[in-house]
């Protein structure tokens, strides 16, 4: 390989390593204000935190993960929120989590939300059926597209946070065997609109 290419490669490598160091140490604002403001209890609802296990700590690394069980509008549900600011790649397609636990995706349908829409996944496993709701939210816009999440978060990192707030991943699933009435839950459990 001639000298020109060697010099070019050395310069390119130095530039990339330097940029990487800058990006690594630049503090990107995360979604902590929204997550910290999520109440444990309030008018018409109450909840409790669920401990994060070692596997989840390993998967999500230093990302902020909130796991709670709430009771609202006569229904109990499990709420899982991940803020991928510190390690976006750890926030993966939620369908992979369920498929890894033996569930198959039987159906999908949109879930109308303020500021957009989420997605209801109809899951099946050994004769059992469960509906879970999944969406991403930056506090104003809500959507279910993983590709859009990747785009928004990549743009946010490329612009060092100037493009907007970090989208967080929200999963709601039933605790009891009875399916969730999504219309009632969306209407009655107002903390969802603070996220």
């Amino acid at each position: 390989m001639n000298t020109y290419w060697k010099v070019t490669q050395w310069l390119a490598l130095a530039l990339v390593v330097g940029l990487g160091a800058i990006w690594e140490f630049y503090p990107l604002p995360d979604a902590s204000p929204r997550l910290d403001a999520l109440p444990l209890s309030g008018p018409g609802f109450s909840g409790y935190d669920v401990p994060i296990d070692d596997l989840e700590k390993s998967v999500f690394q230093d990302n902020r993960l909130v796991k709670r069980v709430y009771r609202a509008a006569g229904q109990s549900f499990f709420l899982s929120i991940v803020d991928g600011t510190k390690h976006r790649s750890a926030v993966h397609d939620p369908t992979l989590c369920f498929q890894g636990k033996g569930w198959s995706i039987a159906d999908r349908r949109p879930l109308p939300l303020v500021g957009g829409s989420g997605e209801i996944l109809v899951l099946e496993r050994e004769g059992e059926t469960m509906e879970v709701a999944v969406w991403f939210s930056n506090g104003h816009q809500r959507y279910s597209s993983l590709v859009r999440y990747w785009f928004d978060t990549a743009l946010r990192r490329l612009t060092l946070g100037k493009s907007g707030r970090e989208p967080i991943r929200i999963i709601v699933q039933p605790v009891e065997e009875q399916p969730i009435n999504w219309t009632v839950l969306i209407r009655e459990f107002y903390p969802l609109w603070q996220l």
Binding site: M1, W5, K6, T8, Q9, W10, A12, L13, V16, V17, L19, G20, W23, L55, S58, V59, Q61, H87, R88, S89, A90, D93, T95, L96, Q99, G100, K101, S104, W150, T153, A154, L155, R157, L158
Partner: protein
């Protein structure tokens, strides 16, 4: 005889490998048989080990691909800045293929790199989730077969 690629290219490949270290987490936390994804990566690297270690008269001036290496570095940079692991992994694949001379096999080798990427799980999950790992094995086995056939053809041509 030159056995090792130029140092900057080796360093680019090493940097790309380091940036792809999320693969370790993926394999460690992957359910069931996906845990053995690291075996697929080792199998995919097999042609590199053979091309760079087997003595052959025509390989005495075994070159490399600086342009491909720079493309790989650019992909790693984009993936690093946008936190897009898949770009970093594709960049890693480019930087590895860049360590040997370009040939028709290089295209197949590059395309087959999807066999060790977590992105394959996402692709397979939409079409054939139960056969994701089998798909990985099939891709890398076809790669090794094609490499073996190409190598055999080259040896026959040299001997004749």
């Amino acid at each position: 005889m030159r056995r090792f690629p130029p140092l900057p290219q080796l360093l680019i490949a090493a940097f790309a490998a380091w940036r792809s270290n999320d693969l370790l987490l993926f394999w460690r936390t992957a359910p069931n048989i996906e845990f053995y994804g690291w075996v697929i990566l080792l199998a995919w690297l097999f042609p590199l080990l053979l091309m760079r270690s087997i003595h052959h008269p025509k390989d005495q001036e075994l070159g490399s691909q600086p342009v491909l290496s720079l493309i790989g570095l650019a992909l790693v940079a984009m993936g690093m800045l946008g936190e897009f692991n898949v770009l970093e992994q594709i960049g890693f694949a480019f930087s590895i293929v860049a360590l040997v001379p370009w040939s028709n096999f290089s295209v197949i080798w590059l395309l087959s790199s999807v066999s060790w990427m977590p992105a394959w799980t996402w692709i397979a999950g939409h079409f054939f989730p139960a056969y994701s790992f089998l798909g990985r094995c099939a891709i890398v086995l076809v790669l090794i077969l094609i490499y073996g056939l190409q190598r055999r053809q080259t040896l026959i041509e040299d001997l004749s």
